[in-house]
Symmetry: C2
Subunit: 211 residues, 2 copies
């Protein structure tokens, strides 16, 4: 095979190993040698591909967050009601967790919620997601579908906060996990934020979700 295209991409192997190690031990608690061991690679090779331990986490976060930002952007472009847009975004994030819980754990625990370390570094990037959601809310307000006394910024924060809180609940076993729960969560998040917790006149006591 050509030298320039090795059978295994060691850089990728290191990144994947880092996800497992960060998820298991946490970024600050693990040593770079733990990542090298997990990847089955020499210590020095980590520094051949990355300039620092931080850069590994930065890479993992940015790779995934860009996918999220593109997903939200695409949803925003569609001609569907707000509720469906927010459902699509919640679905994307929940499915990301379903597909790779370790990576999402690392991103949430070590970046998104780590306000004093990586969260601060990546705040502008994280904020892009808030802003995109706020834009969706704002348009719906102008169309008269959403109430306009709640500012778009605030609504975006509440929506994203609910999604992240649910993932955090799964990560730390505060909420039960499973296929059914993942699907249920998408519905509950949108229903809570858009519809509100209060029983409305003429509403079915237990909506159409009971199975």
């Amino acid at each position: 095979m050509a030298r320039s295209e090795p059978a295994v991409d060691k850089r990728r192997v290191i990144l994947d190993a880092a996800v497992r190690v960060f998820a298991r031990q946490g970024f600050h608690t693990c040593r770079v040698s733990d990542i090298a061991d997990e990847a089955g690679v020499a210590y020095g090779l980590v520094y051949h591909y990355f300039t620092s331990k931080d850069e590994i986490l930065d890479t993992l976060f940015l790779e995934r967050w860009d996918v999220l930002l593109h997903a939200i952007q695409e949803v925003d472009g569609q001609e569907i009601p707000v509720r469906e847009k927010l459902f699509a975004i919640a679905s994307f994030i929940v499915d990301s967790y379903r597909h790779d819980p370790e990576l999402m754990k690392v991103i949430i625990v070590e970046v998104t919620r780590a306000a004093n370390t990586f969260g601060r570094t990546h705040l502008p990037k994280i904020r892009e997601a808030y802003d995109q959601i706020a834009t969706i809310v704002e348009r719906a307000q102008r169309e008269g579908v959403l109430r306009s006394d709640v500012t778009p910024d605030f609504a975006a924060l509440a929506f994203y906060g609910a999604v992240e809180q649910v993932l955090t609940g799964w990560i730390f076993a505060l909420l039960p996990t499973g296929e059914r729960e993942y699907e249920e969560a998408k519905y509950l998040i949108v229903e809570t934020i858009c519809g509100g917790l209060e029983r409305k006149e003429g509403q079915r006591p237990a909506a159409g979700r009971a199975d």
Copy 2:
């Protein structure tokens, strides 16, 4: 004065200094000597009153969190509608921030959101707050005031998540701060979670809050 009752409680001085240092530099980034310097006290004295750096943060968190738990418990005991109960809880937390933003920043950033370090240690204590809120929701559901297809656990997470997200927004300047904003936030949180973002039939376009 009696030796056993010094004019200044050095232990308290150290705790107060720690709040300022943790808020400014973050728990992991600051050194114990920074706390001692801020308190105007010798390095060793910190270890005379506390067994470790961790114990200082533990103390700050537990002191404040117990006050919160008692406040929620008291609210729960009152004979008022759910919406007012949740408003009272949101008010208590927002006012805590208004009264001592540095302490609340430390508690949220270094404990509550620090899922891999202190957040994990104090998870049971943090969970007590979720559970108390869930109890309030559950009772309101039985009384038929809140819809019952959203589980109490989930509703509690969404409500607390919204409150914490707003404080985080203030802490990191994602949202404007000020007396007006603090009062507005209490209303918006409860309105969003209980009423929902969607415009309801016969609802005033901009409720009674426009000024």
